[in-house]
Amino acid sequence: MTRTSQWLYGWLLLLPAAVLLALFTHYPVVATFWHSFLSTPKGSRPAVWVGLDNYRQLAEDPIFWQAFVNNFWFALGTIPASIALALLMAVWVNGNLAGRGFLRLAYFTPTVLPMIAVANIWLFFYTPEYGLLEQVLAAFGAGSHNWLGSKSTALACLMVVTVWKEAGFFMIFYLAALQAMSPHLAEAAAIEGASRWHFFRRITFPLLMPTTLFVLVNAVINAFRLVDHVVVMTRGGPDNATALLLYYIYAIGFRFWDSAYAAALTMVLLALLAAAALAQFWFLERKVHYQ
């Protein structure tokens, strides 16, 4: 094949995907940036240049800051917990415990359920008076509590749902990594007299580092991307206690129809995702050295 026909084939093969990517990923990113400096067009009034006004509004918007802080706590509450649980599950399922098949099924099942279905089920689980949680607590003599309706517990309730949904998904990556590990390592360590915990901490865990980083990046993205459960369970309430960034963007963009302000908010989210992207590139560089 000549060089020119190589070029031509390459470009032509790429064309359909490139058009769609440009239209629905690259253009929207650029357009979001541009629109964040304009006003929202209303009726016959077209959008006008407002400079940094949208960002100024953002800096002074207490709900934005609350959503930002909520999202920070949400990430902090869900990421380490789901990763730690995923690792524990993987170690158990990889071991020789009775009923491994059942356990793997139980842990992984939430992954294949729609988040929206999961949210409905948990909404029922948390229901005041009738919900299973209330019934179990009542059996222990605890007083009634509106779990999703009070500011102090609503966000934590959503975190539990997220951890429940994600841990089993992350488990399989750890499981794959554990199964790929050579049994000779364990034999050698045992000959040296290392304890089981010591072996895990000094050999297994460090060897799982690439997996941990991969899972971590995914968990970070999910913490900013997934708000289905907020829509179903709390709608950001009570009193914005469960408003996450993307949910706030959704509310501003599609309930208040303020697309310019929503664009400025989206820029914040994109900046956070870009930071995650840079972290992943850094990690991929490292990962090469492990192999």
């Binding site: 094949m1 060089r3 190589q6 070029w7 084939y9 390459g10 470009w11 093969l13 790429l14 359909p16 058009v19 769609l20 990517l21 239209l23 629905f24 990923t25 690259h26 929207p28 990113v29 357009a31 629109h35 524990l88 158990w92 399922v93 071991g95 020789n96 415990l97 356990l103 793997r104 842990y107 992984f108 099942t109 939430p110 294949v112 729609p114 988040m115 929206i116 279905a117 999961v118 409905n120 089920i121 029922f124 009738y130 919900g131 399989i172 794959a176 364990a186 360590a189 045992a190 089981r196 991969f214 993205i221 289905d228 829509v231 963007i249 963009g253 697309s259 989206t266 994109l270 992207a277």
Partner: protein, 275 residues
Amino acid sequence: MTHVYASRGVPRTLETIGAWVLGVLWLLPLLYAAWTAFHPAEFSTRFVLTAPLTLENFEKAWAAAPFARYFLNTMALVTTILAAQLVLVTLAAYAFARFEFPGRDILFALVLVQLMVMPDVLIVENYATMTALGLKDTILAIGLPYMASAFGIFLLRQTFKTVPRELDEAARIEGCGPLAVLWKVYVPLARPVYVAYALVSVSYHWNNFLWPLIITNSVESRPLTVGLQVFSSGDQGIDWSIITAATLLTAAPLLLAFLLFQRQFVQSFMRAGIR
């Protein structure tokens, strides 16, 4: 194979108990929903072993909202997306894996952008684009932003790169053009990856919610997830028996497929994740 560090004795018993407690805890919300859905409303939160089983809640849910139509929409959605993805992703991955052309590396980096900036977060601008294209409230509009999947391109490019050049060249000597080589050599060799990718894609789009919620507005285009939300947040009152029945109905096809092809599912998710 027994592992030298496999637990035994008392620790093993404790770990087994721990693992099972966690497993049961993990299934509990689902079992609770199933209990409520399969029993009459008066038993929805009362656990009596003699409670009669019933399918009435499912019948009521099915009759109360156009779930048949929602199922149809979701099926159309996931097949449209998957079909488009398979074609676009295969062509693009082939270009990146086996052709030399100017701008290849920059274009590949531009594709990878989508791994981080998923269409899920670009809802405001994509809504405006769909409105401008006159596609609002169609199944096509739900699917379009996802069809050129960076994840799929990445996954297949990796796979195509592992195909020995000799096979490629042998096919060319026999007179195959580039597309024939792709179809006869690369695609068959990548079959397990295609299966993995298809399972992940179908699960993702069967379950996707926020974007379809925004872009659809009628029974004719709404997928199941959005239909379920409209149904359960509507003027249903709070009849949990019916809502949980509808919820299980929504999740049932994927759940059944998962229970039947458990190994395949887990391996697919694994394969798709490890790049």
